[in-house]
């Protein structure tokens, strides 16, 4: 946002002028003048009037207009617009956090967060100028505006405040719509996709729902069922991805890899259970995983093509190689 359009800088200018006891109480023209000095841009009368309204509403600023004298004043001397005591390192941390969230988060979350933080930072803007605040330092490949991400805030609130949610779910595989009431427990991100883990009344068990398959979630009153049990967190600890493949449970998965892939598996373990059974001096290696097989794991293993060979279990070898050819 250009400095001239940043309302917070004007709010700060208005606040400073109202608290300046060395000068007479300001008229609206005095406040316009204060804003002009602060932003090097003259705001319109309407803009400053709206700013005062916003300060009253958003910052609970006790600004009173005295009709007889045509001046503005604070009715509460104890009020402080910059009432949050932040140290320089606090400001830096907040700026870094905003920047980090802008980089790794999605637009809706980071925008809201930034809006709230800008309020806090406003009072300190003079001491801590914006500088390269908007300069991008981190770039991720998280897609923006993918289907369903608009539900993030609603589910976040549902989990935080323990609120049941009515959803319409569309199953890509069955091509069927269902109406369900779920009790969200956890938001899960995997491979740039977001999921809500929830107790499903219809299934009478905990299920995972992709945001992209959910239509129009609605918060409803009702008793909340389900808690963030240890089973939920341990389930995701033991799986690569989201959706289990079959009912195999925890499996020992062994595969061989060619030398060219060795560095990759060393640098990027598939899962925390990954172990090297042996590494031959040629670079050929045998790798072991202990996890719950998932669709996402099978997709990953297939992506290596002939660079790996599944040794155990046999059903997985068949699934990764033979069934892939269908």
């Amino acid at each position: 946002m250009p400095v001239t359009k940043n309302p917070y800088l004007r709010y700060k200018a208005i606040d400073d002028r109202l608290r300046n006891r060395q000068r007479h109480l300001p008229t609206i023209l005095d406040l316009i003048d204060a804003c002009t000095r602060a932003t090097e841009h003259e705001p319109s009368l309407d803009t400053v009037v709206k700013d005062i309204k916003n300060m009253r509403k958003s910052f609970q600023a006790p600004i009173k207009y005295c009709r007889s004298k045509g001046v503005y004043e604070y009715t509460d001397d104890a009020y402080r617009f910059d009432g949050v005591g932040l140290m320089e390192q606090d400001i830096d941390s907040i700026k870094n956090a905003i920047e980090l969230i802008q980089s790794i988060g999605s637009s809706r979350v980071s925008d809201q967060f930034e809006h709230a933080m800008e309020k806090v930072l406003t009072a300190y803007r003079e001491k801590f100028p914006q500088g390269n605040f908007k300069r991008q330092i981190i770039q991720t490949d998280a897609p923006r505006d993918f289907r369903g991400f608009e539900h993030f805030e609603l589910f976040f609130r549902a989990i935080k405040d323990r609120i049941p949610v009515s959803i319409v779910h569309y199953s890509y595989s069955k091509q069927v719509f269902t109406s369900r009431v779920i009790h969200p427990i956890l938001l899960k991100e995997f491979d740039n996709r977001w999921y809500v883990v929830a107790y499903s009344e219809e299934h009478n068990q905990i299920r995972t729902f992709g945001f992209d398959r959910i239509n129009e979630p609605v918060l409803v009153y009702g008793d909340f069922i389900g808690d963030q049990s240890p089973e939920v967190t341990s389930f995701f600890k033991d799986i690569y991805g989201i959706y289990p493949f079959g009912d195999y449970g925890l499996q020992q998965i062994i595969f061989d890899t060619i030398p060219q892939e060795l560095a990759y598996f060393r640098s990027f373990p598939i899962h925390e259970s990954q172990k090297f059974v042996f590494v031959h001096n040629t670079g050929h290696a045998r790798i072991e995983l202990n996890l719950i097989p998932s669709y996402e794991l099978i997709r990953l293993l297939r992506s290596f093509g002939s660079s790996i060979r599944i040794v155990e279990p046999k059903w997985l070898r068949q699934e990764v190689t033979e069934n892939f050819k269908r």
Binding site: V168, Y170, F177, S179, V218, L219, V220
Partner: protein, 151 residues
Amino acid sequence: MKKSPKSYLFSNVPNEGRSDNPKLLRITITPTHTKVDFGYSTFKSIYTNGGWIQISPETYILSLGNKQKFKLINTKGISLSPNKHYFESLRDWQYYSLYFEAIPFEDGQYNIIEPEFMGDKEELEAVNHVSGGNFDFYNIEIEVRKGMQIM
């Protein structure tokens, strides 16, 4: 007529639709309108590209108790006939909502009727014959105790 100042949502409302495609998913009763949510999947379509959907502006809710009609007042996600919402494949789907005048917040049975087909009657019958599709829904049962108050 009893009107609640609050809004209530009914999930998986019992009904006797002629098919499950489109599927009646939810009904929301508010003081100002009744919203009915549907889901349609193209997997049964006889068209290779999934065909199309539309809804007549004359569609209404009929109270089986006092025969009162509640007119369609808005739609979301579906075209009003003669316009059509076209699909691209047999793997497409559409979630859509019809907004009707507010029905009372009390136990009752209703039909949702699309009275006339604005396009080619023969084409509609041919499509319905193959896909089993028909829009009308009968004996939709609203039980107040099953409603969930919307937050």
